[in-house]
Symmetry: C2
Subunit: 320 residues, 2 copies
């Protein structure tokens, strides 16, 4: 029997799953909506039957054996197998996902947050192969991070380590969804760069195609397209975003001294527009002993579903 791991990415809107082999090949992907199941047990029953239905129809399905389930989810607690107070999910409080899902699959299961899963994917299957100390930053609606130290993920005593998106840039800064002010993700994320565009539209008088788009409609992709056409506001927004990220990465380097920092997510696909100001600001702000040692680069899995791959990687790493 060939071995497969089920990788599951629980997002606010949809849940994606995939069957991943030991080399990081995803044989099949499927999904169900996350929304619409106020009762988490109904949701898990629907997820389990979708997975089982898909497992039955993969080519040569009888030759595979499922050896584990890895789950990436917002506020996923590695130690307890619970999702805790996740603001974007319908289930409130502390949800014992692993205990409940074991009723459907009797195999080893691991849960962590999506950014930790991404870091594990990068380690086993991406650009971080062979590195013991590195950081993965995921830029989506918010900013997530997964930190490797001594060849393993940093979970911290409670399973919640690695929240670089909530490093405080400015105690009097932008309002954050976490209830505080000035967190890094209010500046550096798809939402952050949009807020920066609106600040620049307010502060300057440069003409910009972005002046005709309202806040609710503006996307990071539109800012990227405008920047490619030379739109000054869009270019300044990328510069500002990279600068903020670079400054805080300099702080993060001071703590764990990684060999490299990998950027994942939509904004990372903007390439040099985000990478160059980030690397420059980081270097400019690094303590002397760390200068010219740390690479900032795009994830090696930019075109893959890293959340599913990383969730599966959690299990493969443990089976090693």
């Amino acid at each position: 029997m060939k071995k497969l791991v089920i990788g599951i990415d629980i997002g606010g809107t949809n849940t994606i799953f995939g069957f991943v082999d030991k080399t990081g090949n995803t044989l099949w992907e499927g999904g169900i909506p996350t929304k619409g199941y106020p009762n988490v047990e109904d949701y898990l029953a629907a997820l389990a039957s979708a997975i089982k239905a898909n497992l039955a129809i993969i080519p040569d399905s009888k030759s595979y054996e499922i050896v584990g389930v890895g789950i990436g989810a917002p506020n996923g607690n590695y130690y307890k197998g619970t999702i805790e107070e996740a603001p974007n999910l319908e289930w409130k409080g502390i949800v014992p996902i692993i205990n409940l899902f074991k009723r459907h699959f009797d195999v080893p299961m691991i849960l962590t947050n999506d950014a930790n899963a991404a870091a594990m994917g990068e380690y086993l299957f991406g650009a971080a192969k062979g590195l013991r100390d590195f950081i993965v930053i995921t830029l989506g609606t918010g900013l997530g991070s997964g930190i490797f130290v001594n060849g393993d993920l940093v979970y911290g005593h409670d399973g919640h380590a690695g929240e670089l998106g909530h490093l405080i840039v400015n105690p009097n800064g932008r309002q954050c969804g976490c209830g505080r002010r000035g967190c890094l993700e209010t500046y550096v994320s798809a939402t952050g760069i949009k807020r920066t565009v609106f600040k620049l539209l307010a502060d300057t008088m440069y003409p910009s195609e972005l002046r005709s788009i309202c806040f609710d409609n503006l996307t990071a992709e539109m800012i990227f397209q405008a920047a490619k056409k030379g739109d000054k506001i869009a270019l300044m927004a990328f510069e500002y975003t990279g600068n903020m990220l670079g400054r805080k990465l300099a702080d993060a380097v001071t703590v764990t001294s990684p060999k490299a920092i990998f950027i994942f997510g939509g904004l990372a696909k903007s390439g040099k527009l985000i990478m160059e100001p980030t690397q420059k600001a980081m270097e400019d702000n690094l303590l002397g002993i760390f200068k010219n040692k740390v690479k900032v680069m795009p994830s090696g899995l930019l075109d893959r579903n890293v959340a599913v791959l990383g969730a599966a990687a959690l299990v493969w790493k443990q089976l090693e």
Copy 2:
């Protein structure tokens, strides 16, 4: 034969060594000046003969066997056994301490910076026994830190991780010895609190006994004594220092999620004056999921020579 480890603390002015058994008892301490040896080989020869002379005269000396040497030194590189560009030592560039000292003692040797050694001492012999994730902050002339993750020290890819003293509080802030501005240790350290007193003397008109002392003469101990007598400026300086430290500890918790943070050094001996504002500012600034979980407390080794003990602990941990 009973086993002993030699712990060595290389400071800018003096070098202290001690013979430490497995339970953390220091049987004997001695020392030589660090200054006055422009050639590092001369220094190490003098250190080796002082150690050998002391070893010969400890009670019951023939019943002991030396099983290792642990060294704590500024800018000590764990991976390479080198001291690198240490601003307070006479030897410039990269000094291969371990290779050179092995000519004198043919036993396993480990080198790291003094704050990492302190963290290892706390782990084996102090208040961090049994914890896998914690941070030790050492407050002296500067601010050093040693970070434990998953039950081991964080060295980073280059051996220099854990420089919390150089987290940037304010990019336009106080000038730091590292050549940058606004590093945490310019606010939180014996020197930092002194700078804060001078800022407060400038900004306010409160009467204070500290107004009669010049910058060169003021010590952290004088500020502590003034605070105990109710001196308003001294009290404000402790409040300000703890507030700055607490804010940055909130950031550090966000990265590695420690169970506890131990404060070591002269300022830690000021007790509540520093601990209370630190704990409060940390709590006020923590992300929700970390609130009411992380203890800030004095080191369990406040009255011991933690640098020597910690240096020896490095070896004991490895021998485990």
